[in-house]
C-alpha cells in the first residue's frame, strides 16, 4: 500500500559495493516507506542478491560508496546482529544447515535477542513454545521441524518455510526476501506467499527479490524495480513485472548498452 506520507524505513543512496576485487553494486538508489511491498527483478548477476547481503551486513561484501539509512540511522555501521535486532530481516536464498543446533533453541535465542531490543521481556522455554506453535500456522509447518537441527535435512520448501517462520517470530520492519520462491513447487509457493501476505502490514515493508512473475501473482507489489549491472535501471508498478515476463530481459540489455554508451560519451562532450 502506497502512502506518500508514510515514514521512510529504508533509504539507499548511490550505493556501491564489491566482493573481493569485483565491483558488483554501482550506484543503487531506493526509498522504501512503511506499508510498501517492493519487488526487485533482474537477471542472474545483476546484483540483486548482493544488495540483500549488503543490507544484512554479510562480511564478504565491502561497501565502497553511498549510504543506507534505516529509520534515519546509518545502517552500514552496524554489525549483522544489531541490524537484525532493530528489525532488518534477510530471508536467505540458500538457508544454511547447522547440524547440532536445535531449530527450537535457535529460534528462541533469536526471538529473545529481538525482543530485548524491543523492550519486551525474554520468553522462557514454555512461553516460547506457545508463541512458536501459534506462528507455525503462518506457514503451515509441522511442529516436528522444531526438534530437528537448523535446516538440516529440510527440503527446499521446508527451508523456505522455516525462513518465513523466523520472519514471523522476529517481527521485522524491513524484510528482504532473497529469491524466496526459488526451488518451490506450486503448493509450497502458495504457502510461503500466504505467509508473507499475512505478515505484511501498514507499519512494515517487504523487499522481494525474484526472477519470476509467478511470486508476484501471489504477492502484489506496489513497486517493481529492474536491476542490471549493479543498479536499478527502471522502476514501475506491478505492470512492469508483467512486461518483463512478456518481453524477457533483452530490452534491459539494450537500455543498459544505451546508458553505458551515453556515459562514456559524456566526458568527451564536456571536454
Amino acid at each position: 500500500m502506497i502512502r506518500p506520507d508514510a515514514p521512510v524505513l529504508l533509504e539507499i543512496r548511490d550505493l556501491e559495493a564489491r566482493v573481493e576485487d569485483k565491483a558488483i553494486l554501482k550506484g543503487v538508489n531506493l526509498t522504501v516507506r512503511a506499508g510498501e511491498i517492493h519487488a526487485v527483478m533482474g537477471r542472474n548477476g545483476s546484483g540483486k542478491s548482493t544488495l540483500s547481503k549488503v543490507l544484512a551486513g554479510h562480511p564478504a561484501y565491502t561497501v565502497t560508496a553511498g549510504s543506507v539509512t534505516y529509520r534515519g540511522d546509518n545502517l552500514l555501521e552496524l554489525d549483522p546482529e544489531q541490524r537484525a535486532r532493530i528489525g532488518v530481516f534477510l530471508g536467505f536464498q540458500y538457508p544454511v544447515e547447522i547440524p547440532g543446533v536445535s531449530n527450537l533453541e535457535f529460534l528462541r535465542v533469536a526471538t529473545n535477542a529481538r525482543r530485548a531490543e524491543q523492550g519486551h521481556e525474554e520468553l522462557d522455554t514454555f512461553a516460547f513454545e506457545d508463541l512458536v506453535r501459534e506462528r507455525l500456522q503462518v506457514v503451515q509447518m509441522d511442529p516436528a521441524f522444531l526438534e530437528r537441527s537448523v535446516n538440516e535435512g529440510f527440503s527446499g520448501g521446508e527451508k523456505k518455510r522455516n525462513e518465513i517462520l523466523q520472519m514471523a517470530l522476529l517481527d521485522p520492519l524491513v524484510a528482504i526476501l532473497d529469491e524466496t520462491d526459488s526451488g518451490l513447487d506450486i503448493d509450497a509457493l502458495r504457502i510461503v506467499a500466504g505467509g508473507v501476505n499475512q505478515l505484511a502490514n501498514a507499519d512494515n515493508a517487504t523487499l522481494l527479490i525474484t526472477h519470476y512473475q509467478r511470486l508476484l501473482d501471489a504477492i502484489t507489489p506496489d513497486y517493481v524495480h529492474v536491476m542490471a549491472a549493479g543498479r536499478i535501471l527502471r522502476t514501475g508498478g506491478k505492470e512492469l513485472a508483467l512486461e518483463l515476463e512478456q518481453r524477457g530481459y533483452d530490452w534491459v540489455d539494450q537500455e543498459l548498452a544505451a546508458l553505458e554508451a551515453a556515459q562514456t560519451r559524456t566526458p568527451a562532450e564536456v571536454a
Binding site: 562480511p59 546482529e81 536467505f92 544454511v96 547440524p99
Partner: protein, 416 residues
C-alpha cells in the same frame, strides 16, 4: 599457569630416581604389583619425543607437578543426586569405595584369588602392561576397585574422583560375565596442580555389554594419564565415550581387543584444548578374529595455543576377515596458533575387509556464523552455539549420569 606446564625443565627423568626412593614402602593388597611397577620405572626411561607414540607429548613437565601419592581424599564436588538405580562410588585412591555399601544384585567384589588371576590380564592381552603410564600407576596404586557383573545382570555404576594436589592413582578391574550389562559413568575432576593416573581394564565375556562414559575435567596445572584396556569375547558390545577438557596435559589410551572378532566396538572421543594445553588420544583396536565391527569418531576443538593429538591404530590381521571398521577424526581449529595432529594408522593384512578412515580440520564456517548473526545472535554467542553443536555429537552419547555431571556449559567454560 598453563604456560608453565608446556615448558620442559632440565633433564627428562632426573626427578624420577629420588621420587621413587622416597615413596612409602609397598603395602596392602597390591604390594607385589607396586614392587614390580617401581622396579620397571627405575629401569625404563621416561618416554621421550624420540618415540613415535610420544612425539608430540612431552612428559618431562611431570617433574613440575606435586607427585606424592595422595594420602587423604580431596573434597568432593557438588554433584546432582545420583539416579535411584545408579550406584555412585567415590574413588579417592585412599579409602575403600565399597565400605558400608550394599551392592546391587549382580554386582560383587572379586575374591583375592580372582584378583590375582585377573589383574593385568587384559593389559597384557592388549599389549600395554609395560607402558610407562601403566607402570607409574602400578608403582603407586594402593587399592584396586575389582568388581564382577554376574551373568545376565544389569548394573548402573558411577565412579567419581577428585584429584588432590598430589598423584591420584586409580586402578579398576571389571569382569563382565556372559550377557552381563554394565553402564559405567566415570567422572575425573582436578581443580589444582597434580596428576591423575587411571588404569582401567575390563573383560567382557560372550554377549556382554559395556557402556563406559568418561568425563575428565581438569586444571591447567594438572595432568591426566589414562589407560583403558578392554577385551571382548564374540557377540559382546563396547561403547566407550570419553570427553576431556581443561588439562595442562591429558593423554588417553583406549586399547581394545576383540579376542575372536565377531564383536562390536564403538569409540567416541572429544577433547578440548586452549591456552597451552595438550590433549593426546592414542587409540588401539586389534581384531583377533573375523567379522568384528568398529565405529570410531574422534573430535577435537583447539583454541589458543592448544595442541590436540590423535593417533588411531587399527590392526586387522589375516584371521580378521570380513572386519568392518570405520574411523573418523574431525577437528575444529579456532585459532591460528592452535595445532592439530591427527593420524590414522591402519594395518590391514586380511583381504576381505571394509576399513574406512578420514580426517577433517576446519574452522567455524563463515556462512553458519553469518546466518546466526543475521537472526540477532551476537558473534560470540553464535560461535558458542556452533562449538557446542560440534561437541554435542559426542556428548549425547554419554550415559546420563556422566552427562549430568558434565553440563555442556561447564565443559565449554573449561575449554575457554
Amino acid at each position: 599457569m598453563g604456560a608453565s606446564l608446556a615448558a620442559p625443565a632440565g633433564r627428562a627423568s632426573a626427578w624420577l630416581t629420588p621420587w621413587l626412593a622416597q615413596l612409602p614402602p609397598p603395602a596392602g593388597e597390591l604390594a607385589a604389583v607396586q614392587q614390580r611397577g617401581r622396579r620397571a620405572l627405575a629401569e625404563q626411561p621416561l618416554p621421550s619425543a624420540r618415540e613415535e607414540a610420544w612425539r608430540f607429548t612431552d612428559l618431562s613437565l611431570l617433574a613440575q607437578l606435586p607427585l606424592q601419592p595422595a594420602s587423604s581424599a580431596a573434597p568432593l564436588p557438588t554433584l546432582p543426586p545420583a539416579e535411584p538405580d545408579v550406584l555412585r562410588l567415590h574413588l579417592d585412591g585412599c579409602g575403600d569405595p565399597l565400605a558400608g555399601l550394599d551392592l546391587p544384585d549382580g554386582l560383587q567384589p572379586l575374591s583375592a584369588a580372582e584378583l590375582a588371576q585377573g589383574l593385568g590380564h587384559t593389559l597384557a592381552a592388549t599389549g600395554c602392561e609395560h607402558h610407562w603410564s601403566v607402570e607409574l600407576n602400578h608403582a603407586t596404586a594402593g587399592r584396586v576397585l575389582a568388581l564382577r557383573v554376574a551373568s545376565r545382570a544389569r548394573v548402573r555404576l558411577e565412579l567419581v574422583s577428585t584429584q588432590p594436589a598430589a598423584l591420584l592413582p586409580l586402578r579398576v578391574l571389571l569382569v563382565l560375565e556372559e550377557k552381563a550389562q554394565l553402564e559405567l559413568s566415570q567422572v575425573l575432576l582436578a581443580q589444582q596442580a597434580g596428576l591423575t593416573s587411571l588404569v582401567l581394564e575390563a573383560h567382557l565375556a560372550r554377549s556382554a555389554r559395556l557402556e563406559h562414559g568418561l568425563v575428565a575435567l581438569g586444571h591447567p596445572d594438572a595432568a591426566l594419564l589414562g589407560q583403558i584396556a578392554l577385551e571382548q569375547e564374540p557377540e559382546s558390545a563396547v561403547a566407550l565415550t570419553s570427553v576431556s577438557a581443561g588439562w595442562g596435559l591429558a593423554r588417553l589410551e583406549p586399547r581394545l581387543l576383540q579376542v575372536d572378532g565377531q564383536a562390536q566396538s564403538t569409540l567416541r572421543g572429544l577433547q578440548l584444548v586452549d591456552d597451552h594445553q595438550i590433549a593426546d588420544t592414542h587409540s588401539h583396536v586389534q581384531f583377533g578374529g573375523p567379522e568384528g565391527q568398529l565405529d570410531q569418531l574422534h573430535k577435537a576443538v583447539a583454541a589458543g595455543q592448544g595442541r590436540s593429538v590423535f593417533n588411531g591404530a587399527v590392526r586387522v590381521p589375516r584371521a580378521a576377515q570380513r572386519t568392518n571398521a570405520a574411523q573418523l577424526s574431525r577437528n575444529l581449529l579456532l585459532s591460528d596458533r592452535a595445532r592439530i595432529d591427527t593420524k590414522p594408522e591402519l594395518e590391514i593384512v586380511a583381504d576381505d575387509v571394509k576399513c574406512a578412515h578420514g580426517a577433517t580440520v576446519s574452522s567455524l564456517q563463515t556462512d553458519e556464523l553469518f546466518y546466526l548473526q543475521s537472526r540477532g545472535i551476537d558473534a560470540d554467542q553464535a560461535a558458542g552455539l556452533l562449538k557446542r553443536a560440534f561437541c554435542e555429537e559426542v556428548l549425547r552419547q554419554l550415559p546420563t549420569p556422566a552427562r549430568s555431571s558434565c553440563p555442556l556449559e561447564r565443559l565449554l567454560l573449561e575449554a575457554r
